[in-house]
């Protein structure tokens, strides 16, 4: 029988007595996937050097080595149609690549030298620093309002915390960074004890051991970090309105939760999130209320984990594991005339969830959905590796089995108790991006009822509910208008 499926997760941490640790997924696929993960990231950026973790990773994945210029690396990778990409988050940095097994030797030699023998050339540094600044100023701040609202929400919630700057850094810090800063970061963080090497596919015998031996050339030890403080939630609603020339009004809101995958309540909270706002699913409650019934926008979702680039993808990328997560709601752009109503309906529905909980019927339906859907999260070897590495970070068994078992034994009462324990519709942060920021601020402050304009009036019960939603009280603690040009600058 054909078996391109993965034949199982084999931890060979003990193959050699010393680190680095390895996670291997041997299979019969002719594609060999690498995920080389370091337990370090933007939360380890020293103060004043925000962006150094990301720029260091870029100098490994998109620059020359001691032996080869960047041009020569691109030229060597091109015929294989393979690449090495880096993803830097708060507590994880991962280098990802897949190649055909026919090219494995040549590909691995490039990958190895890129990560272990960086070239640290000034011209690469200048190019990648420009790229980082343009990403923050142009691609994110100016050209992607949906991502901007969500990213800014994280900055607002984690203000003053190790997570309090965008992983790419700040413009002010990037301007000051030197190549020596990157070399220091590399020396302090690219250590054997921070490393886990993920490998999958039809690689030859003894290849994994060879990789492990090569990466054992990194210095021994692991970075010691003080446990991160929990971020403090605001009292009432803390609202920031980013003023920007835009056609729509964008809203993101949320608050920190003391629950990540390692917490026994996580599977129940995951089920709640799926019911309330499953990403890109038309079945979830928020989507139904805002888009399907009222035609307010393109979609509305909720999350309990960081999920960047949600406008481009249906599934979250692995290896964005974080000790601290937030519950958040993403309202895609609504017409500005309906902006106030959108804010109120998001809070109203969240409050209703907290007060009423989930019905037994919705609980069962969501559980059935998730039990099958979870298998779709790991369709490729690389995804399977990524989830395995994340489970190792959180100290949980293999993800699929872990959550399925938890859901199997769960009751609707368990879920509703988790809702009461962790969710709320007050004491939270709100980010709004809109053109008439002052108008929005004044409307929020006034406390006046909001209305919604329809192209086709919905049924009477919806119109009646709209009146209630329109008067939903906004218990504002603080409200501030931020010009877009200030975002990510320092």
């Amino acid at each position: 029988m054909c078996r391109l499926l993965l034949v199982g997760l084999i931890l060979i941490a003990n193959a050699l007595a010393a680190p680095p640790e390895m996670l291997t997924l041997p299979s019969e696929s002719p594609l060999v996937a690498f995920r080389i993960l370091l337990r370090t990231g933007a939360a380890s950026d020293p103060e004043g050097k925000e962006g150094v973790a990301a720029l260091t990773a870029a100098m490994l994945s998109m620059a020359g080595t001691k032996e080869k210029t960047y041009d020569e690396i691109v030229e060597a990778l091109f015929p294989m149609a393979s690449s090495v990409s880096a993803q830097v988050d708060k507590e994880m940095t991962v280098f990802v690549g897949t190649t055909h097994v026919e090219n494995l030797e040549a590909y691995y030699e490039l990958l190895r030298s890129m990560l272990l023998e960086p070239g640290w050339r000034e011209d690469d540094f200048r190019r990648l620093k420009d790229e980082a600044k343009n990403y923050l100023r142009i691609q994110l701040r100016s050209n992607n309002e949906e991502e901007l609202a969500k990213e800014y929400l994280f900055l607002q919630i984690f203000e003053g915390h190790d997570y309090g700057h965008h992983s790419m850094g700040t413009i002010a810090a990037l301007d000051k960074l030197s190549l020596d800063d990157l070399k220091s970061f590399y020396a302090d963080n690219y250590l054997q004890g921070n490393l886990v090497i993920g490998l999958a596919g039809c690689y030859p015998e003894r290849f994994a051991e060879r990789v492990q031996t090569d990466f054992a050339k990194l210095p021994e030890g692991a970075t010691r970090r003080e446990p991160m403080a929990q971020t403090v939630s605001p009292k009432k609603l803390r609202i920031r309105i980013i003023e920007k020339d835009t056609r729509g009004t964008h809203i993101a809101l949320g608050f920190p939760i003391p629950v990540n995958r390692s917490n026994g309540d996580w599977p129940a909270l995951k089920l709640v999130q799926s019911y309330f706002g499953q990403h890109r699913s038309s079945k979830s409650l928020l989507f139904q209320k805002l888009r399907e019934i009222r035609g307010m926008n393109y979609g509305d979702y909720a999350y309990i984990e960081y999920f960047p680039s949600g406008m481009y993808q249906f599934k979250p990328d692995p290896n964005l594991a974080r000790s601290q997560q937030i519950f958040h709601i993403w309202i895609r752009p609504v017409e500005p005339r309906n902006g106030m109503f959108a804010l109120r309906i998001a809070l109203y529905e969240l409050n209703k969830l907290v007060e009423d909980g989930i019905s037994a019927e919705d609980f069962e339906a969501t559980r059935r959905f998730l039990g099958k859907f979870v298998s779709l999260l790991t369709q490729t070897q690389s995804e399977e590796l990524g989830y395995a590495l994340d489970s190792r970070f959180y100290g949980i068994p293999p993800f699929r089995g872990y959550v399925k078992d938890a859901w199997t034994g769960m009751t609707v009462d368990d879920v509703n108790s988790v809702i009461r324990k962790y969710l709320r519709a007050t004491d939270l942060d709100i980010v709004i991006i809109t053109k008439d920021a002052a108008g929005m601020r004044d409307a929020i402050r006034s406390g006046q009822a909001s209305t919604i304009e329809y192209v086709s009036p919905p049924p009477k019960e919806i119109l009646d509910e709209d009146k209630v939603i329109g008067r939903y009280p906004l218990d504002v603690g603080s409200i501030e208008v931020v010009p877009a040009s200030r975002v990510f600058e320092d």
């Binding site: 054909c2 019969e28 992607n144 729509g248 393109y298 009036p457």
Partner: protein, 447 residues
């Protein structure tokens, strides 16, 4: 019957390509069947277990929007297809998909609308029944139609800050005068805003295009033995239609065009150089040669990229854009320039590269690298059932059978330096060229 596709077999298939151009790059066993009403069914065994990807490809896209004021309608209609039938109202449809744990969505492009779902193979019958019903019996009220048009406007608004959206709009509008590729799939914004008034046209659109002769049902993955019988059972009574759109033929452009536009929010200046170029083909090799040119001359491995992006660092992103289309479309090169003062220089460098392709024969070795890149790129991309189904849907829309993939990749293998020069001379000509620039011209006030 399950075919064994071991690592070794796939290796042999791929290794064979370099020496034996007739070797097929699409390694999966497939069957193509036309049932009596004209519906095509394609099944592909991928050897990944348990999961099935269902892609329903309708050969209708913004290309079919031939009537004035109706741009964006194919895409709007994709939205309407989620608005239910008498038998399966939206909430029932959702519940069945949810029970299957399916990941489901749809997209529209210039040439097609595709409805796709991924789920466990045991749910195939339930989902085929559900999908067959909405393709035959879609029913929604005018109120629902009007409400959904606002979700489409929301989709337009969410992309508004992206300068590449604007660039796409202005290049098409300038380069095309007749053909429906003149507008984007999203449509002209004035048409999008007027969509609530087009309920009646929606009925006509469904009647014209949601017919078996426009549609292919692709079942990819761990395909159950009774898959074809199930399609016949639920889709066999669907009535064939008769509508044939008259898609206008684009006349020769005749003279070079330029367009400069400002963008409302800060962006780096963007320069694009486009030429009218042939439609997708798997017999004549011109379009395959242009694909090879796009990688050779303008990808990140090209001399021009190395010069502008890596060495001079005047450009922070550059890429070629020549996407397969059913009718002749555009071959473009797009560059994002760091400083406005370098825009003209970058444009001239692109033009000089085109001229070089016309005047000098390209060396053999880099062409072979491009062929290798295309071959391995295809293999690396086939890493899951949904990925294979997604690629297949594209080619089904082009030629109706997976065999076109093998033919197309065989064409790549045959491209010579003479072909490159010939096609560069024939296609990349000044009289068919449009140069567009987009930049932010601040007027003060909010960013």
């Amino acid at each position: 019957m399950r075919r064994v596709l071991s690592c070794v077999l796939l290796l042999m298939l791929l290794a064979g390509c370099a020496e034996e151009p007739e070797t097929k790059i699409f390694p999966y066993p497939y069957e193509v069947t036309d049932i009596e009403n004209g519906l095509r069914v394609v099944t592909v065994e991928t050897a990944y277990p348990e999961v099935v990807a269902l892609h329903i490809v309708v050969n209708v896209g913004s290309r079919n929007e031939v009537e004035p004021g109706r741009t964006g309608f194919a895409h709007l209609f994709e939205h309407m297809m989620f608005r239910g039938t008498e038998k399966f109202p939206p909430e029932r449809w959702e519940a069945i998909m949810q029970d299957a744990g399916a990941e489901t969505n749809a997209y529209t492009s210039d040439d097609r609308t595709v409805y796709h779902a991924v789920f466990s193979k045991e749910d195939l019958e339930a989902i085929l029944e559900l999908e067959a019903d909405r393709f035959q019996n879609l029913k929604y009220s005018e109120e629902v139609f009007r409400t959904e048009t606002r979700a489409v406007l929301g989709e337009y608004n969410k992309n508004f800050a992206n300068p590449m959206r604007k660039l796409d709009e202005i290049v098409r509008k300038t380069a095309f005068t007749e053909h429906t590729y003149r507008h984007t799939t999203m449509g002209f914004v004035e048409d999008v805003e007027n969509m609530p008034e087009m309920y009646d046209y929606g009925l006509k659109f469904f009647d014209r295009y949601y017919r078996p002769e426009y549609t292919t049902v692709c079942i990819v993955g761990d395909v159950p033995d009774d898959a074809l019988a199930l399609v016949k059972k639920y889709w066999g009574d669907w009535e064939r239609g008769s509508y044939q759109p008259e898609i206008p033929v684009e006349p020769p452009q005749g003279e070079a065009k330029t367009v400069d536009e400002s963008f409302h929010t800060p962006t780096l200046p963007i320069v694009s150089v486009s030429y009218h170029a042939p439609a997708y083909d798997d017999e004549a090799n011109d379009s395959a040669v242009l694909d090879v040119i796009s990688y050779y001359a303008f990808s990140e491995n090209s001399d021009l990229y190395k010069k502008l992006v890596v060495e001079e660092q005047k450009v922070d992103a550059m890429y070629p854009a020549y996407y397969d289309h059913r009718d002749p479309y555009l071959f473009s090169v797009v560059a994002r320039v760091k400083e406005q003062k370098d825009s003209e220089y970058v444009r001239d460098q692109i033009l000089a590269t085109v001229e070089q392709l016309q005047n000098e024969l390209v060396p053999i070795e880099p062409l072979e690298d491009v062929k290798s890149h295309l071959r391995y790129g295809f293999a690396v991309g086939m890493n899951s059932t949904p990925a294979i189904a997604g690629t297949l849907a594209h080619f089904i829309n082009m030629r109706g059978s997976p065999e076109t993939i093998n033919k197309r990749y065989a064409l790549y293998e045959s491209v010579t330096p003479d072909d490159v020069q010939r096609v560069a001379k024939q296609v990349l000509v000044e009289s068919e060229r449009t140069i567009a620039t987009l930049r932010h011209a601040p007027e003060g006030g909010a960013e």
